[in-house]
């Protein structure tokens, strides 16, 4: 039931955002979301309750700015590497410890790692995220973590379990 409601609200919000706030659209969206949520909620494995509202607030106003700054840095980093005639590369596959347990939290962390300077997440198991790093710095997993995911892990730890 909780899953059904979560899926239903998500679908309805997306429908309204994609169309407009006219009465006919809201009603059509309500019907479509009610039916589709019945089908989709059997497949998804996430749900949320009222605590999502403060979490969403933290996510949008604390996490997103940090993320966008990192993403712009990543692009200038890539630009500098690509335009440099000698191609400065020191690539390696390394693993990074993470405390996040849930699927959605891990996905968010892995996506953030992919979009930040020089790193591309490849695989994950229970404790580690495996990444391809264009310019390996440090020796131990803890040092890697400080360079790669330190900032995100702290913020995301407060949002996801």
């Amino acid at each position: 039931m909780k899953k059904y409601l979560s899926t239903f609200i998500t679908l309805w919000v997306i429908w309204i955002a994609l169309t407009s706030f006219a009465v006919s659209e809201v009603l059509t969206g309500l019907l479509v979301s009610l039916v589709l949520a019945g089908v989709i909620s059997k497949v998804v494995d996430y749900s949320f309750d009222f605590t999502i509202i403060p979490k969403l607030f933290i996510f949008v106003f604390v996490y997103v700015p940090v993320f966008i700054v990192e993403m712009i840095k990543a692009n200038f980093d890539v630009a500098a590497r690509v335009l440099n005639p000698s191609l400065p590369l020191n690539p390696g596959f390394v693993k990074i410890p993470t405390k996040l347990k849930g699927n959605v939290g891990k996905l968010t962390l892995a996506n953030s790692i992919t979009l930040t300077p020089g790193t591309l997440s490849i695989d994950a198991d229970d404790e580690y995220i495996y990444i391809h790093w264009i310019d390996v710095k440090g020796e131990t997993p803890e040092e890697y973590q400080k360079h790669v995911s330190g900032k995100f892990e702290k913020i995301l730890g407060g949002i996801y379990k």
Binding site: N75, L89, P91, D123
Partner: protein
């Protein structure tokens, strides 16, 4: 207002150029994916948001497009990189490889390069 939109679109196009250049210049599939993913994600970000700012009626829709792209684009490149590794594409002069052990322990025979 529309001037800001057009400037954002041009910035987006420039990031696409950088991504394409990275695709040509980088030595192996993993480094290429890195350049391509980052450049195209921010490129699409600023291109699509530029459209949204130039035409404010579409702003909410473009915002939604950006959110979905940010979720799906990195997942796509992760899966491409993983598939290349399992298939056995040789990485370019590695200084460290901790991925090796993971696939050995999972008993994946193809990942023994």
């Amino acid at each position: 207002m529309s001037a800001i939109g057009y400037i954002l679109m041009i910035i987006g196009a420039l990031f696409y150029v950088l991504g394409g250049l990275g695709l040509v210049r980088m030595p192996d599939v993993y480094n290429r994916l890195q350049a391509a993913t980052k450049a195209t994600t921010l490129g699409t970000f600023s291109l699509v948001l530029g459209v949204g700012i130039a035409q404010p009626v579409w702003f909410v829709k473009t915002l939604l497009i950006v959110v979905f792209l940010t979720i799906t684009n990195p997942v796509g490149s992760s899966v491409l990189a993983k598939a290349s590794y399992i298939y056995g594409v040789k990485p370019f002069k590695l200084s460290k490889n901790e991925l090796d052990k993971l696939y050995k322990s999972r008993g994946d025979e193809n990942a023994d390069n």
